[in-house]
């Protein structure tokens, strides 16, 4: 299944966004605070509603600080046109010849009550499977406080769609959390977005698969980390999982390092190469994969994303990197620019001249990262 279209209304800093997706790898570019992560968060939000453990509409909203935090500040028309301040997410998907549409609109009732489902529509091809609210639930807040998407009893006819959303992967690895996860201890965020439990993720993988993936990573790292002999999975005396790097030295036994001694860049690269080898039956969302990495490595990432995009599922990437977008094999349909404005942000495909330039072999980064005048940074 692939996402074909994402439409947002009043979602975070987008008053309105309408994105048609044709590529397997999607790059979101734009200035700081324009809303690149917020755009990805719409997909994470659907995942958080749909996931079988700890999911649900109310939890997904609460984890984000409540309805007022996810609803666009620029939402207009309060009290005028009915529904104009609703928050809406619509995703259209295709699965071979089949098409799916999921539409969810949420409205705030009063400050005291929970946000409720204003509309929930599920379409499979031309057939409407769900079109809520139904007459019998209009006055029942408890029913309207939950989506059908999150309820196994209600989503039977579109279980595959619900499962698809629940399998969306988002990782924005923060090396310090991996290294000091133990010492920071305590609170682990749901779905571990920052990789705090990344070692556990590796530990939970079947032995054979784990060995095969680590072998590939160590082969890839061989070119980059001098003297690297092998990358191994070990469990310490306390039962904690670790990644161990073995180096050749002049001494008879190889030197060893655990993940907490690796540089941020090495750790991020290992995590990225691991993620790219996982099976993705739903989109993989990556935030600024270029962070802490050498430009030469970054320059080569698109090829790896492309493989995942072809083999498994779509890859959505936020980036600021010229190096990442230097690959002339990136089509203009892969790129969306987010433009901030006083009325909220807009998301747009490349303009006509940008598209022409990319089609003529100018590296996409040289084109789309050159929007607007060079601004002056001063303090």
């Amino acid at each position: 299944m692939r996402i074909q279209k994402i439409e947002l209304k009043n979602w975070r800093n987008f008053r309105s966004a309408n994105v048609e997706i044709k590529a397997d790898v999607i790059y979101l570019v734009g200035p700081n605070a324009s809303g690149k992560s917020n755009f990805l968060d719409a997909l994470r939000f659907l995942r958080d509603i749909a996931k079988p453990i700890g999911g649900g509409l109310q939890t997904a909203l609460n984890e984000r600080g409540g309805f007022s935090k996810v609803r666009c500040l620029h939402a207009r028309g309060a009290g005028k046109k009915k529904g104009s301040t609703n928050l809406e997410i619509t995703v259209s998907l295709s699965d071979g010849p089949d098409t799916w549409t999921y539409h969810l609109a949420i409205l705030p009732r009063s400050s005291k009550s929970r946000p409720l489902v204003a509309k929930e529509i599920v379409k499979h091809n031309e057939e409407v499977l769900v079109d809520r609210p139904y007459d019998h639930e209009v006055d029942d807040e408890d029913q309207l406080a939950v989506t059908y998407l999150e309820q196994a009893a209600q989503n039977k006819e579109f279980r595959e769609l619900s499962r698809y959303f629940s399998q969306i992967t988002y990782v924005h690895l923060v090396p310090q959390l991996v290294k000091f996860g133990e010492r920071i201890s305590g609170h682990l965020l749901p779905d571990d977005p920052f990789g705090q439990a990344f070692m556990k993720r590796i530990a939970d993988t079947a032995n054979k698969t784990r060995e095969a993936r680590l072998k590939k990573i160590s082969k890839a790292l061989h070119e980059i980390v001098p003297g690297l002999e092998a990358l191994q999975f070990i469990v310490d005396k306390e039962g904690r999982p670790h990644i161990e790097m073995r180096y050749q030295t002049h001494r008879p036994l190889p030197a060893r390092q655990l993940e907490d001694q690796l540089s941020d860049g090495t750790l991020r690269l290992i995590a990225l190469l691991w993620l790219l080898q996982e099976d993705h039956s739903a989109p993989l969302l990556l935030e600024e994969p270029e962070l802490s990495l050498n430009e030469e490595i970054v320059r080569q990432l698109h090829r790896l994303f492309y493989k995942v995009g072809k083999r498994d599922n779509q890859v959505f990437v936020t980036t600021h990197s010229y190096a990442l977008l230097s690959n002339e094999g990136i089509p203009s349909s892969s790129i969306f620019t987010i433009i901030p404005g006083v009325e909220g942000s807009r998301i747009e495909p490349p303009t006509e001249p940008e598209r022409i330039a990319i089609q003529n072999g100018i590296p996409p980064g040289d084109v789309v990262l050159a929007r607007g005048e060079q601004f002056a940074l001063d303090i």
Partner: protein, 200 residues
């Protein structure tokens, strides 16, 4: 809407190019292309792609002549490197003698005022200078405002100061008088004429 593409060596040339286009072709939208690899190499490497792109909308490229002999031979060198025989009329290749900084010096009153220095001693023929960057740095040495930013730190080995591009770009955007500069810089005058010819 119509556009004009631009690619150059650095942010100062882009700022100059924007002023040129605004002056002559204000109806066109400026579409910049910024090579990841800055400097002349970035421009040269992608030259054939720029040429292809110019079939749709005009393309303006600005490079420095630097130490090369004269603009026509530098142009011929560049074209022969890519086996290009001639450039279409929509493609404007501007080779600045010797560096784009010469165009800034063309507005001597403006640059003197910006730096807060007297304007005596600023040449009336900046394109004859062998090292316009160096000339600006010399002038800035007496600038009470921007000396530390424009001139290199005596302790280091950098060629320019940390705010060289920043300050020069600011000057071009805010104060640079393009008419005065064009009178003193033949390559600027020719560039404006050729941009103007795009109107036909």
């Amino acid at each position: 809407m119509r556009w004009i593409y631009f690619s150059g060596e650095d942010e100062v040339s882009e700022a100059l190019a924007r002023r040129c286009v605004e002056r002559v072709l204000p109806e066109l939208t400026f579409q910049s292309i910024r090579p990841r690899q800055g400097g002349i190499d970035g421009v040269i490497e992608k030259f054939p792609s720029y040429l292809d792109t110019s079939r749709n909308y005009p393309f303006f490229v600005m490079i420095d002549l630097d130490r090369k002999e004269c603009p026509p031979s530098a142009r011929a060198d560049l074209l022969s490197k890519h086996n290009i025989t001639d450039l279409p009329r929509q493609f404007i290749l501007s080779i600045v003698k010797r560096e784009s900084e010469a165009w800034l010096l063309g507005d001597s009153d403006g640059i003197a005022e910006y730096l807060g220095i007297p304007n005596q001693g600023i040449t009336g023929n900046p394109e004859e200078l062998s090292d316009p960057k160096g000339a600006i740095i010399q002038l800035a040495k007496t600038s009470p405002r921007y000396r530390d930013e424009i001139c290199p730190d005596a302790k280091g080995d950098a060629k320019v100061g940390p705010g060289f591009n920043f300050r020069l770009t600011e000057f071009v955007k805010r104060q640079w008088n393009i008419e005065t500069a064009a009178e003193r810089c033949p390559t600027l005058m020719r560039t404006l004429e050729r941009l103007n010819n795009l109107k036909d």
